[in-house]
């Protein structure tokens, strides 16, 4: 590919303080503050929208309503003490947050993970992806005004996965399951059979979902051609995860970094071609099908053995000075942890690379020119969790 294929970064079309150039005179513009308590924002998040009639001419997101300075708290915690806090970042998928943090610390301290623990991580990680995506498609339908039923269908599936998490880790959402060099507890008796039962129902849910909604003309009318994100902008703006892949960016960290044991599984990376809301919805449905395949393989090959590296101490863990950046393909995108150790029990610097926040970089570009009702579904298709956006 030539240099010309990647233009210089596209900047926001409207700067703060500048008057919108297009449309009628500014007297007819309506300034609307959506949020922080608006139900479509999935939390406490505000968008300052300037409207020309129903059309969006400017949109500025306002963050920080859920800011608790997670990074500062972690600087005064031990390395292990930050693990339960990571659950509270993206509280829909705590286990992948645990995994990303454990991976970063393992890189920092050079810890090896036993094989069984790697398989357990893949199993719980893919289950997390399943329930996150199920949740997302339900919420997106709700945002589109398809009130109640699809969300309940999605939550029925999610509930079964959360029951599995509770049986394994003791909590439905605040799992606190991974440890440096492995996992905290081994599978309880009968857990794998229960998981197989849940997973057997999953394709039926997806089929039903597709039959009912994906071909629905109202849904297609609402989502196709709305919030189009170009491939070039997606790469430049650091968009990751399903949102980037819906725009045709072939980048899945499970395939690129091959962290853990992902090189042992056969799975495909679904790609979109239009980058609109419909593609972002379909990518999630297709990814759920691929996750089911990975889960089947992982549960078939699950070896026996220890679940945690015996050399890693649980008390008094002090990595040698240095730094490491570890990242995984979380359901929302690239979740990275950047850690600096100065040899003390607390990290000197602890940074979370939040996919939800960075995926919102292009929110204004996606919404410009669309109607107010489309902002809601565009935001819904980005898939944010405010616990992670604001940290």
């Amino acid at each position: 590919m030539s240099t010309a294929a990647f233009p210089a970064a596209v900047l926001p079309t409207q700067q703060i303080g500048s008057e919108p150039t297009s449309g009628p005179s500014t007297e007819q513009l309506l300034e609307l503050s959506m949020g922080p308590q608006h139900p479509s924002t999935h939390g406490v998040f505000r968008m300052n929208v300037v409207l020309d009639g129903e059309r969006v001419v400017r949109l500025k997101p306002v963050f920080g309503y859920l800011h608790r300075n997670h990074e500062k708290i972690a600087e005064s915690e031990t390395y292990l003490g930050s693990m339960p806090y990571t659950d509270r970042l993206d509280y829909i998928c705590p286990l992948t947050n645990n995994w990303a943090y454990a991976l970063a610390v393992e890189k920092l301290a050079g810890i090896q993970v036993p094989e069984r623990a790697e398989y357990l991580r893949v199993i719980v990680g893919e289950l997390t992806r399943l329930q996150n995506h199920a949740c997302l498609v339900g919420f997106l339908m709700q945002d589109m005004g398809c009130s109640g039923t699809p969300l309940m269908y999605a939550f029925r599936q999610r509930e079964m996965v959360l029951d599995l998490f509770e049986a394994l880790t003791g909590a439905r959402m605040m799992c606190n399951y991974m440890r440096f060099g492995g996992c905290r507890v081994d599978l309880p008796a009968g857990w794998l059979d229960q998981t197989k039962k849940v997973l057997q129902q999953f394709p039926r849910f997806l089929d039903e979902f597709e039959r009912l909604l994906i071909g629905n003309e109202i849904l297609m009318g609402r989502t196709q051609g709305i919030g189009v994100l170009s491939k070039e902008l997606a790469v430049s703006a650091g968009i990751s995860g399903p949102m980037a892949r819906a725009s045709g960016v072939d980048y899945d960290i499970r395939k690129v970094d091959r962290y853990g044991i992902y090189d042992r599984f056969a799975f495909r990376v679904p790609l979109g071609s239009h980058g609109d809301v419909y593609d972002r919805l379909m990518i999630r449905v297709l990814e759920m099908r691929e996750s089911l395949g990975i889960l089947d393989q992982a549960m078939r090959d699950l070896p026996a053995g220890p679940i945690v590296d015996p050399k890693t101490k649980i008390r008094g863990f002090r990595p040698k000075p240095g730094e490491a950046y570890g990242r995984i393909e979380a359901p929302k995108g690239e979740l990275g942890f950047y850690l600096i150790s100065d040899g003390s029990p607390n990290p000197y610097r602890y940074r979370v690379r939040p996919p939800s926040l960075i995926n919102l970089t292009v929110l204004e570009d996606l919404c410009l020119g669309h109607n107010v009702a489309d902002i809601v579904i565009i935001l819904g298709s980005v898939d944010i969790v405010l616990g992670e956006v604001d940290r």
Partner: protein, 213 residues
Amino acid sequence: MLGDGILKGLAETARNFFGSYVSRDRLTTIQYPEQRDPQIEAARSFPFLVFDGADWQQGLRCVSCQICEKECPPKCIFIEKSKDKKPDAVGKPQFYPVRFDIDISVCMSCQICVEVCPFDAIKMDVDYDLSTDDRFGGLLLDRQRLAKSNEHYNKIHPTEAAAVDAALAEERAKAKAAAEAKASAAAKAATEAKAAAVANPAPAPQPAAGESQ
């Protein structure tokens, strides 16, 4: 056909409406306070202190090492160490907590105190229907309210508690064996000293070294 999707949606609604009266796996309602779901063994709510025997003050396993206080991520544990010692779960004289408070309005049920405890003294409870109308006193649990018997622990986490009990029994047996060995050594030393005293009465008899320890 236009309107096809609406008809499909209505058919699905009708199917589910009638299904909810007959399908057995969808009749999931239970009469909550009277009926309860079986408790999951791995479940956790807030920590409690394990004691052995009948008297919670005598039997507390906690030796006031304060590791959990230091490791607790939101710093919700407050311990005051005793001045004197009492025998612990294995019979060794140890300090004990004169004050052990957990503020469950701060606790986030992360289980790290349980993991770092070297004495199996703090474990996670499974109570989930907790409530109080006292914002400060009711949420600050002191050691008396935290103390729960080993039987309770065995009831809520049977597998885990069995392993802990086995390990403790082994340690107790080891301690007992060591004490017996010490006692027999002391007895032997005493008889030797006596024999020496009989053979050679003039100097003062050597005190049995084992007894004073």
